[in-house]
Symmetry: C2
Amino acid sequence: MTVHTTEHTTGRQAEPRDAGARSGRNAILRAARRAFTLRPYAEVTLRGIATDAGVSASLIVKHFGSKEQLFNTVADFGPDADGLFAAPLEALGRHMVLTLVHSRRELQRDPLLRVVFSLGNTDERSLLRDRFHEQVTARLTTLLTGPENALRAELVAGQLLGLGATLALHPSGATSAADAERIADLYAPPLQRLITG
Amino acid sequence: MTVHTTEHTTGRQAEPRDAGARSGRNAILRAARRAFTLRPYAEVTLRGIATDAGVSASLIVKHFGSKEQLFNTVADFGPDADGLFAAPLEALGRHMVLTLVHSRRELQRDPLLRVVFSLGNTDERSLLRDRFHEQVTARLTTLLTGPENALRAELVAGQLLGLGATLALHPSGATSAADAERIADLYAPPLQRLITG
């Protein structure tokens, strides 16, 4: 069963009410994302994440539970895929572009890009990549109809990762300054062509 | 002046002739790429890279010179951009896709993707990203004609990063198995549309 924990509702605990708790929680998530994407799972410790986040290890346990539960929160692409794929096939390209741009601008997070950071890792295997395959690429493959759906699904995933990457790499660039609808005008038709096949 | 050292000719020394020297050299480059993309420049040491590569620090000096010279080799996108951009504008999309796929398959390296790994870094600034802006995005912006060339250049860079990312993330996937010409059939028209404007 896929655990649909997100950064917004953990199921363990209600959303923290005050800004202090929320910023501590966000600092933990940022540090955990760095740790789990850049190092093998076995080498990651709650103590190391706590030091990086500037909080106590017990605060991590309070917010997220065990190391495994924290990993599940960070590595889970399920809710992000739910959001990205929530449109009819014939309108999916534009919906994906707008969802990704809005997520970056309003939530300060990219739905998918963290999986790419894990490629800098020396490991051949990565739990994060396994989750991505299952929750993003394989799911998209089953959504698409027509020939070469696996190939097209991988290329669609690539285009989404590429849009997130270029937004992150050019925080003061033309794309970051552009209207989301204008980005969609330029970037959605290619995506839609791959989706429609 | 841009130093056009590549992984293939350093200018310091002729290409190593035997496979042993070449594999040591490649191990150093892989370790250096990891180090410079994942850690702040000041924290990277030749000793650390040597340990990661399983060689002596003196071998690094012999092959690449100083830490700064090694960084220049790893961070330089000039020769990669030369290869990617070496086609007339009206045929550039297909040329870029084929060049990227061939580089991955024949040289086991992506021309651009290392810049994305640097996003996992905690630094706000990154010399690697500065080089990417100058040697890839800004250069592409001046190549493109018509309106919104900066925006289109960033989106083209995104599509190239996305193609490299999806190939790297799915080493046993449909894209990795597909004929390069078939990938270009699907992926080049969108790129070309952004290039032509």
